[in-house]
């Protein structure tokens, strides 16, 4: 019950408090109302002010609306312009995209050009070889042409000679013909004579026959006369004077007979002479006939010869015509070859220019990359030393770090050697007449400590001067001599002989030398461990060693540098050796 009462009292207190509170609130509200009314009045004032301001503001608003309209217009224009600019931006972006594609494409092309350059350079080298071949072929063709001209001259001379001979032979032929004519005339004449003689002979024979008839007549008359004589002798006795007449007639008849016998003998003698002469003339006729036969044969033979000459002449003429054609073909080919040569020279000039640029870029690249490569390497070496010094490591751990340091050291050496190699390959080549003894002295000074350590002797008395790139040649000698010292036999003091001489080029030394050209020949010979002869070319390859990394130090680039320097001097290098019998390096380069 008390609890409820307490509760009622409590509630009352609460109600009272709430009432008092509400009174307070009501007073507060009344105050607030007063304040609110004041405020209202104030606000009315303000409202009036505001209305005035509103009026002003409305005017201003109207103005601003106008302005806004203007701005909206301008905005519209600006938006159009913006849209237009967006279009343009879009176009530019497209163009940029296209430009980027094109750039990428050009980069590709650049790469291709670089490849093509490489190919072009190979091709150029090949074309140079071809050019050399063409030049050689051209030289040969020219020699052949000169030779053919000589031959042509000879043929022409022979032709003149043949023509002279032909003329001469024609003259001879005419002489023979004339002689033949004369001989024929003589023959005709002799035939006439023969006929005359024959006629005379017939006459003589007739006369002889007649004379014989007469002789017989006389003989008959003589027998008759004798008979008559006998009869007359019979009659003589009857008539002496008739006998004397008859004797006188008989003497006359005998004289006449004797005379006729003489005549007969004369005729007979004449006949014999005439016969002899006939025989002789027959012989002469036969001789002439024989001579005629020979003369005809000779004529026939000369005609044959003439025809042969004529045939040879026509062949010679054809050949000449052919050679002239050939000469013209060669001349045309020469013109084409010259044009091609001129073009190739242009190309060569372009390639040479491109090569110079490429070399410069390569050198820059190599220099920069060797620097960039050396930085992390240095860090490895540095941290290795830090760890080795500051950390407590097991024996195995120390061993591993030392192996690491050795490897880093090798890399350092490799980078330095690569840089040296690329410098040798890309710097400009300036030749000077240099005393080789001086170069050797400089190298000996650089290698002083090693020379002392190996108790080495270097003999360099037979050395002259040569036209060389001094700083490269110093590098070459340094590499060769330091190799000779490095690869010495363990218990034999190193002895190195260096000499030079001028020789004439000779194919027996090497195919690459030109016959008869002056070459400077330098020999570097040592008494070291040598190498098997089948490695004589491998040792010049980059990074090639004949021993493991730990046996003899070095990166295997020394001889590659030597070979490159020799090539920069347009020369060749030949290595000869046998195991344990030392090594000899022979260098040949043009002396002029």
């Amino acid at each position: 019950m008390s609890k409820i009462k307490n509760t009622d009292e409590g509630e009352l207190a609460i109600v009272r408090a709430e009432l008092a509170f509400q009174k307070e609130e009501k007073e507060k509200l009344a105050n607030e109302l007063i304040i609110a009314r004041k405020e209202l009045a104030f606000q009315k004032e303000e409202k009036g002010k505001r209305a005035a301001e509103l009026g002003i503001a409305n005017i201003e608003l109207a103005f601003q609306k106008k302005e806004k309209g203007k701005r909206a217009e301008e905005l519209g224009i600006a938006n159009i312009e913006l849209a237009y600019q967006d279009e343009e931006k879009g176009k530019r972006a497209e163009e940029l995209g296209i430009a980027n594609v094109e750039l990428a494409f050009q980069d590709e092309e650049k790469g291709k050009r670089a490849a093509e350059l490489g190919i072009a350079n190979v091709e150029l080298a090949f074309q140079d070889v071809e050019k050399g071949k063409r030049a050689a072929e051209l030289g040969i063709a020219n020699i052949e042409l000169a030779f053919q001209d000589e031959e042509k001259g000879k043929r022409a001379a022979e032709l003149i000679v043949a023509n002279k001979e032909l003329v001469f032979q024609n003259n001879e032929k005419e002489k023979r013909a004339a002689e033949l004519g004369i001989a024929n005339e003589e023959l005709v004449f002799q035939n006439e004579e023969k006929e005359k003689r024959a006629a005379e002979l017939i006459i003589a024979n007739k006369e002889l026959a007649f004379q014989n008839e007469e002789k017989e007549k006389r003989a008959a008359e003589l027998s008759i006369a004798n008979k008559e004589l006998a009869f007359q002798n019979e009659e003589k006795e009857k008539r002496v004077t008739e006998k004397d007449k008859r004797a006188a007639e008989l003497i006359v008849a005998n004289k006449e007979l004797a005379f006729q016998n003489e005549e007969k003998e004369k005729r007979a003698a004449e006949l014999i002479i005439a016969n002899k002469e006939l025989v002789f003339q027959s012989e002469e006729k036969e001789k002439r006939a024989a001579e005629l036969g020979i003369a005809n044969k000779e004529l026939a033979f000369q005609n044959e010869e003439k025809e042969k000459r004529a045939a040879e002449l026509s062949i010679a003429n054809k050949e000449l015509a052919f050679q002239n054609e050939e000469k013209e073909k060669r001349a045309a080919e020469l013109i084409i070859a010259n044009k091609e040569l001129a073009f190739q020279n242009e190309e060569k000039g372009k390639r040479a220019a491109e090569l110079i640029i490429a070399n410069k870029e390569l050198l820059a690249f190599t220099y920069i990359s060797s620097h960039d490569l050396q930085e992390p390497l240095r860090k490895i070496q540095t941290f290795a030393t830090i760890l080795l010094e500051n950390e407590t490591l097991t024996e195995n751990g120390k061993y591993n770090f030392q192996r690491m340091q050795l490897a880093a050291g090798r890399m350092q050496q490799l980078i330095d050697d690569l840089l040296a190699f690329s410098r040798i390959a890309t710097t400009e080549l300036k030749f000077d007449k240099t005393d080789l003894k001086l170069i050797i002295e400089e190298v000996k000074a650089e290698l002083k400590d090693t020379i002392q350590e190996k108790h080495a002797t270097i003999e360099a008395t037979e050395l002259g001067t040569a036209n060389i790139i001094a700083f490269q040649f110093r590098q070459l000698m340094y590499n060769l001599i330091s190799n000779a010292l490095k690869f010495s036999q363990p218990d034999v003091p190193s002895h190195i002989i260096i000499k030079s001489e001028i020789i004439k080029g000779n194919k027996s030394i090497s195919e690459k030398l030109s016959m008869g050209k002056n070459y400077c020949h330098i020999t570097v010979k040592d008494n070291g461990i040598g190498f098997e002869s089948h490695f004589s070319e491998r040792i010049f390859e980059v990074f090639q060693k004949l021993h493991g990394k730990e046996v003899y130090g070095g990166t295997g680039i020394g001889l590659a540098i030597v070979k490159k320097i020799v090539e920069n001097h347009n020369g060749i290098i030949i290595a000869t050796s046998e195991l344990k019998k030392g090594a000899t390096f022979d260098i040949y380069f043009p002396a002029d």
């Binding site: 192996r403 490897a407 490695f535 090639q544 060693k545 004949l546 021993h547 493991g548 990394k549 730990e550 295997g556």
Partner: protein
């Protein structure tokens, strides 16, 4: 699987790599016997010499790990020589190199090498590659030593290790 000893021949001029290889092999559970030569000429002499007094042919390995860069005669030349020799072309040859060049790898595959491994710089991975390659080879070898082992396809030629699984990705 061949339960007899696996005869491994390693040709590598680098002392450190030979040591790594030796450690990797020693940890294997397979029974193995490791011989090492240090350059190409030594390798060819080792493979072709005969014991003169007894006229016995040399013992050929079950697998050869061949480093490419060696003095006197390099790995490429040795591979070519071996594949031309009827007695030397039966065992698998696994090529080793510090660097990777696609052209070189294609050429090695063409010349008949069995696998190609680029030496990883991390030692543990290096060991793992060796071990897993040896296991793979042991599984591939025929029961007797007279049969030929077939060259894997080109896509499986280059071996790499990813995490703990041997992975034959093409690079």
């Amino acid at each position: 699987m061949n339960l007899k000893q696996l005869n491994i021949l390693l040709a590598d001029d680098d002392t450190d790599d030979c040591l790594f290889f030796k450690e990797a092999v020693e940890e294997l559970l397979l029974p193995t016997h490791l011989t090492t030569v240090n350059d190409g000429e030594q390798l060819m002499q080792h493979l072709t010499h005969e014991v003169r007094a007894q006229n016995i042919s040399p013992v050929l390995p079950d697998v050869l790990f061949l480093d490419i860069n060696m003095p006197r005669k390099n790995g490429k030349e040795c591979l070519a020589e071996m594949k031309l020799n009827s007695k030397l072309k039966h065992f698998p040859v696994i090529m080793f190199s510090t660097s990777y060049e696609k052209e070189v790898v294609n050429q090695l595959y063409k010349n008949g090498a069995h696998y190609f491994i680029r030496k990883p710089p991390e030692f543990l991975i290096f060991k793992k590659v060796i071990q897993q390659t040896l296991t793979l080879i042991a599984l591939e070898l025929p029961g007797d030593k007279t049969g030929n082992i077939t060259q894997p396809e080109r896509e499986r030629f280059v071996l790499t290790v990813q995490n703990s699984l041997i992975d034959q990705n093409s690079i």
